[in-house]
């Protein structure tokens, strides 16, 4: 199975509201660094919710890493997300009462498959290694509330990457960073995804970053739901 994402005839709406997503087809090869753009309100976050298995589509198939999420139960989708998907939010990514290290280690403690993929290395060591790669190795013991926004986003990236999930979903993770830092953050993220062989779906409304990606998807072009 070489497709990381294979969405067919997907339709989604909140409650009985208007359709938010109506996507005939969206496929993504494994290992792709995809740039998904669209203006705010074009359904970006909703699509990510569906891909991550948090939202259940009303119609269609949502193939992710060879599994059709639409046919899974809520608990199965939760377990699938825990095992195979790393997620980075736009901001406020971290749980305030956990240390940097505990925040990074959270997915591994939550899911046995993620832990098994550490290949016997300790959680702490792996977290420390990832933190080193993202140049925040000296912050592990700190409280997350003491970190700058840029540092927080790197911690969030470490958390998404730990235990080598096959799919990394990032929802405008750089929008709160200034331009120089955006590029630096992206380069670190790319390097880690490549190291782990992970597929990256990166969402933004800011097309200035488009050139750094191997594939660009325009959500308004593929989303038939008129908004």
């Amino acid at each position: 199975m070489s497709l990381a994402i294979d969405v067919r005839r997907l339709r989604f709406r909140y409650g009985g509201g208007p359709w938010v997503l109506d996507i005939r087809e969206l496929t993504l090869e494994r290992g792709t660094r995809a740039f998904l753009f669209g203006s705010s309100g074009s359904g970006k976050t909703t699509l990510l919710g569906v891909l991550a298995g948090v939202l259940k589509p009303d119609e269609g198939e949502v193939g992710v890493l060879g599994r059709d999420l639409a046919s899974l139960s809520g608990a199965q989708r939760d377990a699938f997300r825990a095992a195979h998907i790393g997620y980075v939010f736009q901001m406020f990514n971290l749980i305030p009462y956990l240390s940097v290290l505990d925040n990074i280690a959270l997915p591994v403690r939550m899911n046995a498959q993620r832990k098994a993929r550490l290949d016997g290395a300790g959680v702490k060591e792996t977290a420390a290694m990832l933190a080193d790669h993202l140049q925040i190795g000296d912050l592990l013991k700190r409280r997350v509330t003491e970190l700058s926004v840029g540092q927080q986003q790197r911690v969030a990236a470490c958390r998404a990457l730990i235990g080598a999930p096959e799919l990394i979903v990032a929802d405008e993770p750089t929008s709160s960073l200034d331009f120089d830092r955006r590029e630096a953050f992206l380069e670190l993220l790319f390097r880690e995804c490549e190291r782990a062989g992970a597929t990256l779906v990166f969402v933004s409304h800011d097309r200035a970053l488009e050139g750094m990606f191997s594939r660009t998807i325009s959500l308004p072009d593929i989303n038939g739901a008129a908004l």
Binding site: V54, A75, A82, M110
Partner: protein, 421 residues
């Protein structure tokens, strides 16, 4: 384990509101357990007012009335028994010892009890403790007076002080037997029973103050006997007692003895078994007890509701946290578990702190309460009732935790990964 770890860290992160919540639960639990302890202490001190006495005998009347005036120094006796009748029963083969009581007089609000050396020899309270003298000696002469510990303290009397006896019971007796002064010869050790609030004279003393009285009327002025008249008498004849305590030779004979006394034909009289009468009385007072318990249970509920409010109101600012947990793979069930665990931890911490608080307060307050109120509250390891209360509090915390938990569950399902406010 992860959920518990998260719950504890989350609570620690909100240390201020957590400690307030735990504090309020602890206070309410301490109140609940404290009231329970005081209740047990009260009941024990009540039923330990008198011990090892098998029967209390007096003129026919109400059982509780007999108990009240003989043991608690409350209410008034209706009738006396003749001395001959008393002697007859005292020498009954099934009777090992007796303590005669002559009642009806008072000294500045404290009851005067006429008795004899049998009182000091046989009277027992709280698990068989005997009457002991703090100073002086037990009264044995006509004008000797022995004071209960509280009487001596409250009236500031010492050995050698003169005391007047009032006829009738009450703060101000209507007639003072002031022509016959009594002298304090002894003060009893504190017993934390009604013994402390009584004045003990001899039966002869009681007779002496009533010399010259006819049909309840005092002697005419000028005809009162003087102390010298009384002392000149070779022997004072005791004519009556109000009630007497009986120790049976064999406890198996008590019921038979009681029946015999109740059926005695020469004089209408009755015998009560103190243990039974005491528990009958306690049942009457027990309503207040239940009321108190209901109130404290409500206080605990209020404490837990405070916790509910604090958890519930914190949920809105924690929606972000829930979304993050969802993103890393937490199912709605784990969100529920997290909040229920938080609630349980708060309740458990409150319960344990409350229990600790009770012991701290008890050990600090026990001597004070004992000295001030005369109530001895035993300190003992938590018993079945305490564990039951603590279990109930933690269970209530568990059940109540579902209120914020289900709210968070719905919010988490609705929010997904985006926080819509």
């Amino acid at each position: 384990m992860l959920s518990l770890d998260l719950a504890l860290k989350s609570l620690r992160n909100r240390a201020f509101s957590t400690s307030l919540t735990v504090g309020s639960i602890a206070l309410s639990v301490a109140l609940l357990i404290g009231v329970e302890n005081v209740r047990v202490g009260m009941r024990e001190s009540f039923s330990n007012t008198i011990s090892q006495t098998d029967l209390i005998v007096g003129a026919k009347g109400g059982t509780i009335q007999l108990l009240l005036y003989s043991v608690f120094g409350m209410g008034s006796p209706t009738n006396n028994l003749s001395w001959d009748t008393y002697r007859e029963w005292a020498e009954h083969p099934a009777v090992e010892w007796t303590i005669p009581y002559g009642l009806g007089d008072s000294h500045r609000g404290f009851r005067v009890i006429g008795t004899n050396e049998d009182f000091y020899r046989h009277y027992r309270y709280r698990g068989g403790q005997a009457i002991a003298l703090a100073e002086g000696r037990a009264g044995s002469e006509v004008f000797d007076v022995t004071l209960g510990a509280d009487v001596a303290t409250e009236l500031g009397y010492g050995i050698g002080d003169e005391v007047e006896v009032t006829h009738g019971i009450g703060e101000v007796g209507f007639l003072n037997h002031e022509h016959l002064p009594f002298t304090v010869v002894g003060i009893l050790d504190k017993t934390f029973t009604p013994v402390d609030r009584a004045v003990y004279v001899t039966l002869e003393g009681i007779e002496a103050i009533h010399f010259g009285w006819e049909d309840g009327a005092p002697p005419m002025p000028g005809e009162e006997p003087t102390p010298d008249d009384v002392l000149a008498m070779e022997e004072i004849e005791i004519t009556q007692v109000t009630s007497f305590f009986v120790g049976a030779t064999n406890r198996r004979d008590v019921l038979r003895l009681q029946r015999e006394i109740n059926d005695y034909e020469s004089e209408p009289m009755m015998a009560v078994i103190p243990g039974l009468a005491l528990s009958e009385m306690w049942q009457g007072i027990g309503y207040a007890e239940t009321g108190l318990r209901v109130v404290t249970i409500f206080v605990v509920l209020v404490g837990l509701l405070g916790m509910l409010v604090s958890l519930y109101t914190s949920l809105n600012e924690r929606r972000r946290e829930m979304a993050i947990l969802r993103a890393v793979g937490a199912g709605p069930r784990r969100i529920v578990a997290l909040l229920v665990l938080e609630s349980m931890c708060l309740a458990a911490a409150g319960a344990i702190c409350g229990l600790g608080l009770v012991y701290v307060l008890l050990s600090a307050g026990q001597p004070i309460v004992e000295a001030q109120v005369g109530l001895f509250i035993p300190i003992r390891p938590p018993g079945a009732v305490e564990w039951l209360f603590l279990g109930a509090v933690v269970t209530a915390g568990f059940v109540m935790g579902f209120v914020p938990a289900l709210k968070a569950y719905r919010t988490a399902l609705h929010d997904g990964l985006a926080v819509r406010v």
